[in-house]
Amino acid sequence: MTALAGPQVTTFTAFRATLRRDLLIALTRRNDLLNPLMFFLIVVSLFPLGVSSDPQELTRIAAGTVWVSALLASMLSLDNLYRADYEDGSLEQLLLSPQPLYFMVLAKNIAHWLVSGLPVVLLAPLLAYMLYLPADAYWTLMLTLLLGTPVLSLFGSIGVALTVGLGSRGLILAVIVLPLTVPVLIIGAKAVADASLGVSLGMHYALLGALLALSLSLAPLASAAALKISVN
């Protein structure tokens, strides 16, 4: 029988193949790539229209606006994370891989962040400029988004995995996931707001880093368990 059990691939190979595949799919569907980014841009530009175009007022709300919009954009892009795989059966193949599911889910989450979170981080300074964010807060904004958006992807992944089998998801994903993201939002937005006040930001970064470490180690496990429940 051993003749039928051929050489096994390493977990790393499988991880890399999954990451590559998801990036390939994302790059092929350019619209899916662009839509969250456009959404981010549009939501941010609604604030000056809805609140006020007064620079001082905008400076005050800039940090929160950019963070809330990034949160919503990340939420919008989450839907693609497991949906297509669930519908075409690839998800079953993933679950039946002999590799640890933790790494497979992690690969998918990293791919999702690379195509939806990273562009948001890179676009943020432009929007910060449009909202008159003080110049000394730019690096803080980018750094907190860099630390925070992966957490949004990782937490969001749990919610998507739980709801991927539902016929009509509607707003349930947002209802489940948004409350979980409150700590990231609070710390991230506050760090940016404090940056222009000259407050020392060590604590902020430490907290965000801790959240990132926690979610990197636990969230993929929860997502994997949730996926198993959803394909049941």
Binding site: M1, A3, L4, A5, G6, P7, Q8, V9, T13, A14, R16, A17, T18, R20, R21, L24, I25, T28, R29, A84, D85, E87, D88, G89, S90, E92, Q93, L94, L95, L96, S97, P98, Q99, M104, K228, V231, N232
Partner: protein, 225 residues
């Protein structure tokens, strides 16, 4: 949970590849099967039969571990499956209703990924496998531009690429044409003759040059034909 799985009533001493004992599954307050016992030996081609809604797909998904809502015991080579899940999955190949082919990617990209989850393959292997299932020259065609039968064939190429002992195939014949059916039948026969085992659901009468065992979920019991 004694050593009951060692004592095998219908095989002569050999530990069966897969053994199901007292499987019970209930869905929507309806008992699909209860007290279901069967063994799958190396070299078995077992056809799971039953009317619509008799739980064929559910049974296959339970065996693979995709469905956890059952009671009973499952053994892989005499060891409870949950004790060595990874070892079991390494020797399992499952093709479900949904073929597991992403429509945006090409046949090659799809196969490269699904094989990377199990065993390393080269581009050459992929092309040879595709040619065998009748898709020579289709390696770089995007799957959206293929017919349903061709997409099914892409997933069948995995049978040639993943060296798994146990094949679990859920309705693999549905979208295949005559040639496809014949190819798949010969693949199944080759696999069991090489010492593998196959569990398959289909309403299509299998024409294979090897013994066919039947597991009928309507009459509940395994019997050889």
């Amino acid at each position: 949970m004694s050593d009951s799985h060692i004592h095998n009533p219908d095989a002569s001493g050999a530990v069966p590849l897969l053994r199901a004992h007292a499987l019970f599954c209930e869905r929507d307050d309806r008992v699909l099967f209860s007290g279901l016992d069967f063994d799958v030996q190396a070299g078995d081609l077992m056809q799971v039969q039953g009317s619509n809604g008799s739980g064929k797909t559910t049974l296959l998904r339970i065996l693979c571990g995709l469905n956890g809502s059952y009671e009973g015991e499952l053994y892989w080579r005499g060891v409870p499956i949950e004790e060595d899940r990874e070892g079991f999955l390494a020797s399992l190949l499952y093709l479900g209703h949904r073929v597991g082919v992403n429509k945006i990617l090409t046949a090659r990209e799809n196969l490269r990924w699904s094989c990377a989850l199990h065993s390393p393959v080269t581009d050459n292997d992929i092309e040879t496998a595709l040619a065998r299932v009748g898709l020579a020259g289709y390696a770089d065609v995007i799957c959206r531009n293929m017919s349903a039968g061709q997409q099914q064939r892409v997933s069948l190429a995995r049978l040639l690429l993943n060296p798994a002992t146990l094949w679990v195939l859920d309705e693999p014949f549905t979208t295949l044409d005559v040639h496809g059916v014949r190819t798949l039948e010969s693949l199944l026969a080759e696999h069991v003759l090489a010492g593998g085992a196959v569990l398959v659901t289909t309403h299509h009468p299998l024409a294979v040059p090897c013994t066919l065992r039947r597991l009928n979920l309507d009459t509940r019991g395994a019997n050889n034909s």
